[in-house]
Symmetry: C2
Subunit: 439 residues, 2 copies
Amino acid sequence: MTLGDEIFRPGSSSDGEIRAGILVTGTEVLTATIRDENGPWLSQQLSDLGIELVEILVVADHPGDLASGLEHMKSVGIDLIVTTGGLGPTADDLTAEVVAAFSGRKMELDREMEARIQAILARFAASTNLDLSTDALNEANRKQAMIPVGAVALNPVGTAPGLIVPGQSEADPLVLVLPGPPRELKPMWETALKEPMLRQVLDRATRLRKYRLRMFGTPESELAMSLREIEKDGLSFDGLEITTCLRKGEVEVDVRYRDAAEGSAEQLKEALKERHSRTLYSLDGRTVDEVVSGLLEGRRLGLAESCSAGLLAARIADVPGSSDYFAGGVVSYSNEAKRDLLGVDQALLDEFGAVSAEVAEAMATGALDRFGADVAVAITGIAGPGGGSEEKPVGLVHFNVRTAEGGVRAAAPVIPGGRRDVRERSALVAMHLLREMLA
Amino acid sequence: MTLGDEIFRPGSSSDGEIRAGILVTGTEVLTATIRDENGPWLSQQLSDLGIELVEILVVADHPGDLASGLEHMKSVGIDLIVTTGGLGPTADDLTAEVVAAFSGRKMELDREMEARIQAILARFAASTNLDLSTDALNEANRKQAMIPVGAVALNPVGTAPGLIVPGQSEADPLVLVLPGPPRELKPMWETALKEPMLRQVLDRATRLRKYRLRMFGTPESELAMSLREIEKDGLSFDGLEITTCLRKGEVEVDVRYRDAAEGSAEQLKEALKERHSRTLYSLDGRTVDEVVSGLLEGRRLGLAESCSAGLLAARIADVPGSSDYFAGGVVSYSNEAKRDLLGVDQALLDEFGAVSAEVAEAMATGALDRFGADVAVAITGIAGPGGGSEEKPVGLVHFNVRTAEGGVRAAAPVIPGGRRDVRERSALVAMHLLREMLA
């Protein structure tokens, strides 16, 4: 928490609260060789189900570390433990065994599962050049088909089955064992949600509802002040969980609430809309890229990018179906490209320099013309680390957005941060200028 | 671990091993509102110092959760706990207090620190429009200047001091308390490394050395087989920790070793070089973007991107100083742009379609010409989800790389995955074709 961050929490009524923990096993994650995608994804899923996530623990593929992690989660009163990873066929994939021991259950060969995995592995071996002997295959196969007695086995998406493992008593945590690869974990999570053994625990939670607002141009500190004033003006925040977060130059406001607090949640949304009508651009969680995509329908967009060098084009094209309105762009990194591909007058470049309002305007006009576009965006700036001067410091970026009908929006902020920050923020600012122009 | 992943571990000699844990506090991280940058970064730093990271634990800003996390880490024999976050001025920033209690130390006002923070906050308030009363300022100030007795206070980078807090005995873990914002945490980590109290613990670890190899085009399973064969051929892996990781279409091989195993580590590098000379492109950890940047020196590059829509340009321009060789690019998203900005013959578009070897070649030739370049890359493909056919499926991407001197590399793989995968992988494949062409 830095100055300006604010989190308001709902009253700590404990009815309907299910506490969960996520246990990520993977030396690759721990050593930061790969980034954990599963923890954040599962966190969102649990939150949508109204379940309180108490902690995420990342441990190496060592049985001792995994076991002590499970014991720790039990000791802090966690009801549901979700493990990810460690389900493969190799010797250090030990999650199933460790969880079985933790839950006081023996492992037993599941013949049906064995046959299922055998079929999958045979297909896998045939489709690759892996030199796997049949013995090695069968051994790996058998290891993965060992299921704790009394557990529910979830059919493999890759080669490993998942598990739902109950404890010895109602008070013990239920353990959901999922594979590590996200492409296997996600579908298996959906399957697990249908299993009565898991359902029984999840259904004890009261579901949280939520909405997300997005703002551009309001400092987080100002938003925090608005929230304090709205509360002072008499709106009760009881039963609301309000999180504000500064992310890549935008402010996100997440509001979570149980049904009883729906009225306050709606009133809060209205109060924020009223106070920040200029900067609050998304009431339904849509990103600026999605909003702009909607506004571009039936239009034809051309871009002229210098310092952002394709980052705006890449964001525009990231939206499926963007080829309907995106004609193209020029990454005019050199002066010659500005001149030859966008028709910027050499005299303008000589007189005002490549980073100037005049050249930004000429680039936008050139993009309108060359792409036969009816709306164009030009970005030219100094990304650094070199190239800055007193008059034109690193971070100075000139924007020019214009339509064929004569609409113009220009801006020239000095964007703080390093080279990558300046370039990424340039694409963001341009996206918002485009939104304002078309809205 | 999935089939094909392999991790080989050094012998578990316990001398010189210092065990560390990272405790991340932050409801925003736990709820996946923001991504934790600190855990992975600290993991790398610790690894470079030869310290074994046992776990990363993420908890909410609740004192109870933080306290039980600290106790858990102590219980698993961790020597050094690094906490991040929870050092701000607001009421739920409680890390310092909780750590003091954990270490059996009282909190005491540090007058000198108070004056230092006062000066920082006054500057901060003056530079923003924050309506902070002097009382509120002083209170926040005093809270942050409370230091556990016997701890080392680290000067604030933002507004919060860091701490190094010893336990009651040598056997207790040392706790390094760092702020949450990465821009504050990183410099403070460097400062902390100079403090004798921390140094004393770190110096007990034997430093690990490491190298990283990067490969493009070798399946991870094939690499795993090479490793097994190299070991079978008589090279001892004792004292080596080998991690292979598939990241964004490339394979990374990390080898960590203590001094005694340097010979084996070097022999392993040679053996891999010999076996995978075609695909092993980086022996010194440099990324393909860095390698290509070096190869482009003295050249002039022009790009023609369709489906990747600026992603290759953005990668090229991400390297500081790229303006020396990067002339620019055309994002020719529409057929008109291919024709009007790159000079692609309409007849080619009509006869072969926009996604064809012929059009890719014409785009590259056009880019050479229009940018006055001596090397050009063209990418045109079907990113999906729509637009595919039996003959030209989603994921089919045509590449054409050529030099003014007449060198050509062309390829037309079908790239698996979703729209974003296809687009990002396109930029990666193009980067490698460019590397092969210039090498």
